[in-house]
């Protein structure tokens, strides 16, 4: 599982107190160091806002570097655009080859623009949880098990994932 978080902002009592200078973070669960984001020192905050995915301007800006480098496998080659969220797994209910399910969610052009806004109040541990189980329970894996290009389903699933950040 990998996904992009962009425009990460900290707020305190409704006011922006910090905007991360690094605009895009690729969080890769096979590479746990990417899952910790260093916080600025001496900033109180009670709320976090970010986009899940990559904005449309960036999607049409050609070859980019850093976390946006296409070597990370988060860029579609045959039809331009970033994959905002990628999850692959196995479930017995999937009547697919080796029971595999794959969701490569992205798309920046309306009506299938799939980037999501996330806005969360934060706990004392300053940890954000993505409840993947709740996401998977929210869809019927036997029917929906492969989404690999920008379409209605990709928007729907992206929206569902965004709701499962806690």
């Amino acid at each position: 599982m990998k996904f992009y978080v962009s425009d990460l902002t900290l707020l305190d009592k409704g006011k922006t107190v910090y905007h991360f200078p690094k605009k895009y973070f690729l969080l890769d669960f096979e590479n746990p160091s990417t899952l910790n984001i260093d916080l600025p020192k001496k900033k109180d905050f009670d709320e976090v806002q970010f986009h899940l995915g990559i904005d449309s301007t960036t999607n049409v800006s050609g070859a980019l570097g850093g976390d946006l480098d296409p070597v990370y496998g988060m860029y579609w080659s045959w039809q331009s655009g970033y994959i905002n969220f990628k999850i692959e797994g196995v479930s017995n209910v999937c009547a697919t080859r080796n029971h595999v399910f794959q969701f490569h969610l992205g798309g920046y052009l309306p009506p299938f623009a799939s980037m999501q806004d996330v806005d969360l109040m934060v706990n004392d541990k300053r940890t954000i949880v993505l409840d993947i189980l709740s996401f998977l329970n929210g869809i019927s894996l036997s029917e929906t098990n492969e989404v690999m290009s920008p379409n209605e389903k990709a928007v729907e699933l992206s929206n569902l994932i965004a709701k499962n950040f806690k």
């Binding site: 800006s61 070859a63 296409p70 990370y72 860029y75």
Partner: protein
């Protein structure tokens, strides 16, 4: 051995030109509109262009090191592929479209016959990853380049820092491609006042302006918009063009208008290379267009062309 020689030449050129880096590496030919490509994000330098050229001709970009970009886009044919109607990739696999001539890419608003790719810089990802073309992926290309003997120093020289990334690979390939500007044909010379049309070419030019220029607009000979020019669907391919990208019914069977520069070198013609000769192309416009909901309005009725007029048009188109 050939490789070694190519490399020393390359370094030679690098050395000679390094003292004139600010020389104009790309200029808009007179009469051309402003390029669409944003050079600010990828400023051309001689080192980067030469590195891009080396990669373009190097089969290291393919999975089994057999196919380079130039295998399909040959420098002898305006960087198109003339032996095949549909492109040939690794392990003799056949793709679903004809390889277009690469030229004046700085003016294209999108890449590919259907505009699937939105920016020149990311175009190379498509052939590199296509299992029927180069069957590779960019991260393994970067690994191979890092391990090669020749590339790390060339990248360092071009970027003034160490390390090869996907971004750098893609950008230098773009740089080379951007230099493929076609602006020195007889047509261009005539426009600059350095040559004159023959009588037949003048007649052809008038026919062209009347019947073709709305899509194949001068001086680039394309607006690069998507249109349906009435080719009947090849049912072995079922290629609906732009529709596959936008899923909008009004885009069904529309393809990016190709430029008509260098036509004598870019046969076979059309997205699937169905025509070998320009005579067939003109027969299509004169009498063989297929009716369909998305057929371009200006082609709703056939373009009347007698055989003399066809010859005149061909004379102009192959100037």
């Amino acid at each position: 051995m050939r490789k070694v020689i190519a490399l020393t030449c390359l370094l030679g050129i690098g050395l000679i030109l390094s003292c004139s880096i600010h020389r104009n590496l790309f200029s808009t030919p007179s009469g051309f509109p402003k390029p669409k490509y944003n050079f600010e994000n990828n400023a051309l330098t001689t080192e980067k262009i030469e590195l891009g050229r080396a990669l373009f001709f190097d089969p290291i970009l393919s999975a089994d090191n057999t196919i380079s970009c130039a295998s399909c886009h040959s420098p002898y044919n305006a960087f198109a592929h003339t032996d095949h109607d549909l492109s040939h990739g690794i392990k003799d696999q056949i793709g679903k479209r004809n390889a277009p001539a690469l030229m004046n890419l700085a003016w294209h608003s999108s890449m590919m016959w259907d505009g699937a790719v939105n920016h020149l810089d990311v175009q190379a990802l498509a052939p590199i990853s296509n299992v029927k073309e180069m069957g590779e992926n960019i991260s393994s290309v970067v690994d191979k380049l890092r391990k090669s003997k020749i590339y790390p120093p060339l990248f360092e020289k071009a970027f003034h820092d160490t390390g090869i990334t996907g971004e750098k690979v893609l950008k230098v390939i773009s740089q080379f491609e951007l230099t493929l500007v076609s602006a020195d044909s007889k047509y261009d010379k005539i426009k600059r006042g350095a040559a004159k049309f023959s009588e037949q070419e003048t007649k052809g030019y008038l026919l062209f302006q009347k019947n073709c220029n709305s899509c194949h607009a001068e001086p680039l000979f394309s607006t690069y918009e998507f249109k349906n020019n009435g080719l009947p669907v090849d049912t072995t391919l079922n290629d609906f063009g732009r529709y596959a990208i936008t899923k909008r019914s009004e885009d069904s069977l529309t393809f990016k208008i190709p430029s008509l520069s260098n036509l004598s070198f870019t046969y076979p013609y059309m997205h699937d290379g169905r025509f070998k000769k320009l005579g067939q192309v003109l027969n299509h416009y004169a009498s063989e267009r297929a009716e369909s909901r998305t057929l371009a309005p200006e082609l709703k009725s056939p373009i009347p062309l007698n055989s003399n007029e066809k010859a005149d048009l061909i004379a102009f188109c192959t100037l």
